[in-house]
């Protein structure tokens, strides 16, 4: 207001203009416009005095003489609007010749759009003939044409105040015949925080202008600029065809799409359910990938990963893209299915920063699954180079825990060290490294870490100190250090709270082709690993052993060291550090306490609690209890008891496979350790029927054959395993050779 008042302080025009700016009442815009009687459609017969106005027909005559029918018609329409009583001449072409050639020249320049030249001609003639007065019509039209140029130029460089200022001083510009100017003025209102005025302007067009395409375009132009409530006001001005179809039907669909898209970007935004339903209908009918994607993002932002998965899969079916795969991967991660997420996104991982971030999230989550599931070697070997390439400390740390889970402490410590080199202040990785050194009996290394970290981390300081609550009955080949699985859980992001992924902003990346020029897997692993990087975790590699001695595979303990969020029921936060008799608890409380004790690594007590929980009447709770108890026994190394516990309640298929696999693994390794070779092979055969045989178990099987002096079988097995580069298998082959030659074994 001040700037404008300053600029135009004294002029009457400024008063009119500032009226527009200051008063906020709806309708001012159109009333301002109407009061100037500019619009043909409204043509509010201006309260003319009785005297008939003198109609300036100069332009009419000029256009008629030029044979410019289009301009002639426009001029007739304009004069009719201005002077409703005026009757156009029957034959404008027959009008008397105008003798004023210099004025003709001015009209000619005007009709050619040479406005500055008209100005010059008028001023020159006035200078040479001070008595000459230019026709008011010419001056008016010139001013309006110049104002039009100014509005369009100012609008193009986003000088919206200028647009509004010039328009309000030239209201005769604002006609349905020049819809572009109306649009620009409306946009200027919207872009300069005068949305009400913008709504009035658009409404004005819809009330008065009739061209169907322009009406449609008017609402389309308003859509990105006005809030939904204002758009609804505009849609209410829809005109219906005789058959009842509204002219804006197609826009309502777009509006619903726009609404869902806005909700995609902002998870807090609440939109009408009808919009979601409209887009759902469109997605089903038209099968556009964009609609399915919009719904996918909508649901993934609203914690409904099942629905999100459904729509991202639909989008993939219409048109596979990085975005669809990225969304699908997110939905899968949300459902604790990181393995599928990794597989879905692998080929798109390098498309952009978002796909990279989500892929690494899938990798981290996959590695963090508890109990750790064996990852297929080809998946592991393609993940490792990605971790190295992206220097993702969180993923490297997970790889460390993953290796630890399979008792590959050396490899684990290398990955923790790598994570630390990428993120030197990463306490969980430092903790992991300290722990691995302790497990490897590297006391110097532990001391070094503790000296460095003791002040920042109590748990690092405590590594190696005696654990007062060490449960009895613990046995097994893995020394149980003074840490509980809860600490590992705490150290591994995304296990007890959210999956460890960052939700990327919703973007629409350009579709990118990932050219698949991958060499053999082992090549990737080798090439992608800079010198000094640790080897990828390969389950087939037990820790270094004497070539001739049997490998000790402690697989039975591995899968149960950490308790999965997915299996554990909620409400585990209830404390369980106190000692009570679980038999006094309700079945549900006992179940909770069991999981809690598992987290504190007190499996003996946990097994008792689960025993109480088995009294539950609900099938689900009994299943959970049986599952928990067998996990507890497995952790204690009591595989027989574990098998009994597992049978106490029918288990879901996935769980029962998981349990049976772990039980048979424990059985096979236990039998091998006790020199019961045939039982070893029987357990392994049973296991092989429900799960793929891991490389370390193949080696175990090979040694069992060797012990049974089934050299051909042993050699076949070792050769197959050695083909993947497994060094234990190669040693096994050598052992077979030795045995054949020397009969040592």
């Amino acid at each position: 207001m001040n700037a404008r008042a300053l600029l135009f302080g004294a002029s009457a025009l400024a008063l009119m203009a500032s009226g527009v700016y200051v008063t906020g009442k709806i309708g001012d815009w159109s009333s301002l416009v109407a009061s100037n009687g500019f619009l043909a459609a409204q043509a509010q017969t201006a309260p003319q005095a009785n005297a008939k106005p003198k109609v300036d027909e100069t332009a009419l005559r000029y256009f008629a003489r030029q044979g410019d029918q289009k301009r002639l018609d426009a001029e007739i329409a304009r004069l009719r609007a201005l002077y409703p009583d005026w009757i156009p001449p029957e034959n404008p072409l027959a009008l008397p010749q105008q003798s004023d050639q210099s004025l003709d020249a001015m009209w000619k320049l005007y009709s050619e759009g040479k406005l500055a030249e008209v100005r010059k001609a008028v001023a020159d003639r006035q200078a040479s003939d001070p008595t000459w007065q230019p026709p008011a019509d010419l001056l008016d039209r010139l001013a309006v044409a110049e104002a039009r140029e100014q509005i369009i130029n100012a609008s193009t460089i986003k000088q919206y105040d200028t647009v509004v200022r010039v328009a309000s001083t030239n209201p005769s510009l604002l006609t349905c015949g020049d819809i572009d100017v109306l649009w620009r003025v409306a946009e200027a209102f919207a872009q300069s925080d005068r949305k009400d005025r913008a709504k009035d302007a658009y409404s004005y067009i819809l009330r008065n202008c009739t061209n169907p395409e322009e009406r449609l375009a008017t609402v389309q132009k308003a859509m990105p600029l006005l809030p939904r409530s204002d758009l609804n006001t505009l849609l209410a001005l829809e005109r219906k065809a005789p058959d009842g179809t509204g002219e804006f039907a197609i826009l309502r669909d777009d509006l619903a799409r726009q609404s869902v898209a806005a909700a995609d970007a902002d998870s807090e935004l609440v939109i009408p359910q009808s919009d979601v339903e409209t887009v759902t209908r469109l997605a089903r009918e038209d099968k556009l990938a964009s609609d399915a994607l919009a719904l996918g993002w909508y649901y993934v932002r609203r914690d409904d990963p099942q629905q999100a998965e459904e729509w991202f899969r639909a989008a993939q079916a219409s048109e596979d893209s990085a975005t669809a795969s990225q969304g699908l991967a997110l939905a899968l991660i949300d459902q604790n299915r990181p393995s599928e997420a990794e597989a879905v996104l692998y080929k798109w991982r390098d498309t952009n920063d978002d796909t990279k971030a989500v892929y690494m999230a899938a990798v981290s989550n996959l590695l963090a699954v508890v109990p750790p599931v064996p990852i297929r070697p080809e998946v592991l070997s393609r993940m490792v180079p990605e971790i190295v390439k992206s220097k993702d400390a969180a993923a490297a740390q997970q790889l460390g825990w993953y290796a630890d889970g399979f008792n590959q402490f050396e490899t684990a410590s290398q990955w923790f060290a790598t994570a630390l080199s990428w993120k030197p202040d990463d306490e969980p990785s430092a903790y992991g490294l300290t722990l691995m050194r302790w497990k490897l009996d590297n006391q110097l290394g532990v001391a070094e870490m503790q000296q460095q970290w003791a002040r920042e981390s109590q748990r690092i300081a405590r590594v190696g100190q005696p654990e007062p609550q060490r449960p009895e009955g613990q046995r097994g080949t893995v020394p149980m250090p003074a840490y509980g699985p809860d600490q590992i859980v705490a150290a591994t992001p995304g296990q007890t709270t959210q999956p460890a992924y960052a939700q990327p902003a919703y973007t629409q990346p350009a579709r990118a082709q990932v050219v698949n020029t991958q060499p053999a897997l082992r090549e990737i692993v080798r090439q992608a690993r800079p010198a000094g990087e640790p080897a990828p975790v390969v389950q087939a590699q037990p820790r270094a052993q004497e070539a001739t001695s049997a490998p000790r595979v402690a697989a039975s303990q591995a899968p149960v060291q950490r308790v999965a969020k997915s299996q554990a029921p909620a409400q585990r936060q209830a404390g369980c550090s106190t000692t009570i008799d679980p038999s006094v608890l309700s079945a549900q409380s006992a179940l909770n306490r069991g999981w809690c004790l598992m987290e504190l690594n007190r499996p003996l007590e946990a097994a008792d609690s689960f025993q109480v929980a088995l009294r539950s009447l609900t099938g689900q709770a009994r299943e959970d209890a049986a599952y928990g108890q067998s996990l507890a026994y497995l952790r204690l190394g009591l595989s027989d008891k574990a098998a009994v516990a597992a049978a106490k309640a029918p288990q879901q298929k996935a769980r029962s496979v998981e349990l049976n696999t772990a039980l048979l693994t424990a059985q096979a390794t236990g039998a091998f350790e006790q020199g019961r070779w045939t039982e070893t092979i029987m357990a392994l055969d049973q296991r092989a029927q429900i799960a793929p045989e891991r490389m370390d178990l193949m080696v175990l099987r090979g040694y069992a054959f060797l012990k049974l002096r089934r050299f051909n079988d042993a050699e076949r097995i070792f050769r197959a395993a050695a083909g993947t580069g497994n060094r234990d298998a190669q040693r096994g082959l050598a052992a077979v050779k030795d045995a054949r030659e020397g009969g040592v074994n």
Binding site: A3, L7, A116, E117, K120, N153, T156, I157, T162
Partner: protein, 350 residues
């Protein structure tokens, strides 16, 4: 000494502005032949002044010069033509000032919405004089609006002096570490009293006196000349990012001083000594070393030290300076401004 001098100069400016208000300038101070030669070469039919040495762009400065020259040539038709283009193509900014640059080769023609305050001053000045002398309220109203726009947005206080922001974006203390940066040649001294008439509430006389003080203070290097771009973050010094040169901008400062009626001999002599090269040429100077960067022989540049000699010492202009042969936009503009000044105020020079 300096105080009395400034007082004298201020009195001179006031009397000049009074003269402007009271006397009609019906008589042209630029001949119709000279104006015709100028506009044939630099005025496009659409009303834009073409900077032919600069990629044929147009700018607010050129439009302002064109309107001023058309006014001085008393050519109303051309004045209106140039103003029509200026209004529709450059007067687009929300603050009522002109965008500074118009490029025929881009679409849209405006790619940078910044302004240039010397262009704004020149346009308002030409409008004000034409509006008053030709009795055209429409021009006078537009002049008033721009003058108020300038005082509101481009005049600023710094260390208790009133300065002129060269453009609203890019020169302030916030915009650059060595800010504020000013351009001493943007002080169109003759326009400032007219601005004071159009917009009496602003401190325009303070702008004149601060401009003169800057010229006293910014006599830099062995040749004691001001740079085109001057940093005022501490003691006046050439601004970072620009060559530390007395160059094409600053070369017009003494012409502006003389046209505004300033006959400060010491100041004008300093300019003449510093800028003069061999045979009446003008040198653009690297200020730290004092060595010439370019030697300019176009009459439009040479007429400036020659005018100083005429004003101070009654030395007549040489024949090739008195006759106007358009060369390129900028020096030809300066030459017509100088000749118009000689015609009106120092006929003895011609």
């Amino acid at each position: 000494m300096r105080k009395t001098l400034l007082a004298c100069m201020f009195a001179g400016l006031v009397s000049m502005s009074l003269g402007w208000v009271t006397h009609s300038e019906a008589q042209a101070s630029i001949s119709s032949a000279d104006w015709a030669a100028y506009k044939d070469k630099f005025l496009d039919g659409s009303g834009r002044i073409v900077d032919d040495a600069n990629g044929n762009i147009s700018h607010s400065e050129g439009q302002g010069y064109g309107m001023l020259l058309a006014f001085l040539a008393n050519n109303r038709g051309d004045f209106d033509r140039i103003w029509s283009f200026t209004r529709t193509e450059l007067m687009l900014r929300d603050d009522g000032l002109a965008v500074w640059k118009w490029n025929p080769d881009t679409n849209p023609h405006i790619t940078d919405p910044n302004n240039a305050s010397d262009g704004d001053l020149l346009i308002a000045y030409a409008l004000g004089r034409a509006g008053s002398n030709w009795n055209r309220p429409d021009l006078y109203e537009s002049a008033t609006a721009i003058a108020k726009g300038i005082s509101k947005t481009s005049l600023f206080q710094n260390q208790s002096r009133t300065l002129l922001m060269p453009g609203l974006a890019g020169f302030s203390t916030e915009d650059r570490p060595d800010g504020p940066v000013v351009n001493p040649s943007y002080w169109v001294f003759e326009a400032i009293p007219v601005m004071a008439t159009l917009d009496p509430k602003a401190n325009w006389s303070g702008l004149t006196s601060s401009g003169l003080k800057l010229l006293e203070a910014a006599q830099i290097g062995p040749r004691k000349l001001p740079p085109d771009w001057l940093s005022l973050s501490s003691a006046p010094k050439p601004a970072n990012g620009f060559p530390p040169e007395f160059s094409y901008n600053a070369v017009r400062i003494p012409l502006y001083l003389m046209r505004a009626g300033n006959i400060d001999r010491k100041l004008l002599e300093t300019f003449r000594t510093g800028m003069s090269g061999p045979d009446g040429s003008v040198e653009l100077v690297d200020l730290p070393s004092g060595t010439p960067v370019h030697t300019l022989t176009d009459p439009g540049y040479r007429i400036i030290p020659a005018m100083i000699s005429c004003v101070l010492d009654k030395t007549q202009l040489a024949d090739d300076l008195k006759t106007f042969q358009p060369t390129s936009y900028y020096p030809s503009t300066l030459q017509l401004l100088a000749l118009s000044f000689a015609q009106r105020s120092h006929p003895e020079c011609l």
